[in-house]
């Protein structure tokens, strides 16, 4: 059984970068509503499975990139991403040994905490808190979690 985190940080950064591009692709409105937050799922995966290779720095960096590219308040997503990474690292021993469907539930909770953090920051800084549509990526992300695990797991499992 493969247990050592032998993944190069390079692999982690590249997958997160690709996920970032996927997340921010301009899409038609109907598709954008149900578009999962790929970069969030990727960061969640790496900080759960290989906390040493992922780490909080990549969470912060990904969040900052989302801030800059998405034009949000600087530091808003960075904060939410750091929080998510922290929780994932803190609980990784608990969550990663669970069966995949329980993991999906953990992912659902994590995404919910993430979006609620953003929502609260929006509220505190007197910005528009959006509509119900902003929450739609959460169930989609949780449903996609097994696929994310399957795909990214293939990238760094031993030959």
């Amino acid at each position: 059984m493969y247990t050592r985190s032998r993944e190069s940080p390079l692999l982690v950064w590249i997958t997160v970068l690709i996920a970032l591009v996927l997340t921010l692709l301009p899409l038609p409105q109907w598709l954008a509503i149900a578009w999962p937050n790929f970069v969030l799922l990727a960061v969640l995966y790496w900080s759960t499975m290989t906390p040493a290779a992922g780490g909080m720095l990549i969470g912060f960096a990904a969040g900052l990139a989302v801030d800059v590219l998405g034009g949000a308040q600087l530091g808003q997503h960075a904060f939410a991403f750091s929080l998510l990474t922290y929780l994932a690292i803190k609980l990784h021993l608990l969550t990663r040994s669970k069966p995949i469907f329980e993991q999906a539930i953990f992912a659902l909770l994590a995404l919910l905490i993430y979006e609620a953090t953003l929502w609260a920051i929006d509220g505190f800084s007197n910005r528009s808190t959006g509509t119900w549509m902003r929450w739609m990526h959460i169930p989609v992300g949780a449903i996609l979690w097994p696929i994310v695990v399957g795909l990214l797991g293939r990238l760094h499992s031993p030959r």
Partner: protein
């Protein structure tokens, strides 16, 4: 699940204490948020970060551009010839109209007693390419491939061939962000060409819909009315087409009329925009001194910010007049206006 179970991996030294690390990053984020609220510093940090993010923005925008480029490539000769024909017709028509408009402008200036007629309003214009679009409910923005390096400045006006597109919200070293007029945060002061009624158009988050806010219920608005910028906000010059009224309803119980408009510019389809630089001494130029870099003392009275309720007595203002000029009512004499 490749990693489930088994002997657990001992985290390396740098991850031994996630708590303090999180504390550090959280403080850093909060500091960033604080500085972003207070303009100056956040803009400076963003300026650098935006430069770093530009390659990603180009990557994000590339599938769309690839699609349109390949469509362009595979177009038939016939359709190209057809397009060429329509463009030629349009060019002739526009040339004729320009001739007429030049004469009209000269006459207008003379009637208002201004001698600055030889100066065109638009000093310079540059074609910029759209590299990325963000057309969501909360944000209606475009990223263009020119920035401070090309002399672009914040709040600069952007148009396409049909009308007003928006203004620059952020300027990076070699890319900039355009806030479309349909952005929920955008507001443009407009007037109706037909009768000069003034209003403010705000974005709805839908790239095909504008909201006419602050329009009294007694205002004269009809479906099909053309809207142009009124020049009152000090950001946009007067007379740029903004849109057409598509819906106008009046409820006797409400104080305000309900009216919506469709933007004149094709906001989501344009791949090329025109960035405009204005002649600061022109009477129709944006009047805010910060917006026109080297503005000497104003040549005309600075525009009065008229409350929308003052539109009950609509004056027949033509499309390209100066905002609240100091010239009295134009005398109907053939030569020489009032001095």
């Amino acid at each position: 699940m490749a990693l489930a179970g088994g002997a657990m991996n001992r985290p390396s030294a740098r991850d031994l204490a996630p708590g303090p690390r999180f504390f550090l990053f959280a403080i850093l984020s909060l500091v960033l948020m604080y500085f972003d609220q207070k303009d100056g510093w956040g803009e400076r940090i963003r300026y650098g970060l935006q430069a770093a993010a530009y390659p990603i923005q180009v990557t994000i925008g590339s599938p769309g551009r690839l699609w349109s480029a390949s469509r362009e490539f595979f177009r038939s000769r016939g359709s190209l010839r057809e397009e060429n024909e329509t463009l030629r017709l349009r060019e002739r028509e526009l040339a004729l109209r320009t001739l007429r408009l030049n004469a009209l402008e000269a006459e207008n200036m003379r009637l208002r007693g201004l001698d600055t007629m030889s100066l065109p309003l638009v000093k310079k214009s540059a074609v910029v390419n759209v590299v990325n679009a963000d057309l969501g409910r909360l944000r209606q923005r475009l990223v263009i491939d020119a920035g401070q390096g090309s002399g672009l400045y914040r709040t600069q006006t952007l148009v396409d061939t049909h009308g007003l597109v928006g203004q620059l919200a952020r300027v990076g070293p070699w890319s900039s962000e355009v806030m479309l007029i349909t952005d929920p945060e955008a507001a443009v002061s407009v007037e109706i060409v037909r009768n000069g009624v003034r209003s403010v158009v705000v974005g709805t988050g839908d790239d095909n819909l504008l909201d006419l806010s602050l329009l009294p219920a007694t205002a004269d608005v009809q479906v099909g009315d053309e809207l142009v910028t009124s020049g009152l906000g000090g950001v946009f010059p007067a007379g740029i087409p903004v849109g057409t009224v598509t819906e106008s309803r009046r409820d006797p119980d409400e104080l305000l009329a309900y009216a919506r408009a469709r933007p004149a510019a094709s906001l989501s389809a344009s791949r090329q925009l025109l960035a405009l630089w204005f002649e600061p001494t022109h009477p129709s130029a944006p009047s805010d001194p910060r917006l026109t870099e080297t503005l000497p003392a104003p040549t005309v009275a600075s525009p009065v910010t008229v409350a929308p309720s003052a539109t009950d007595t609509p004056e027949p203002a033509p499309a390209a007049t100066a905002p609240a000029g100091n010239a009295p009512a134009p005398a109907r004499r053939p030569r020489g206006g009032p001095r």
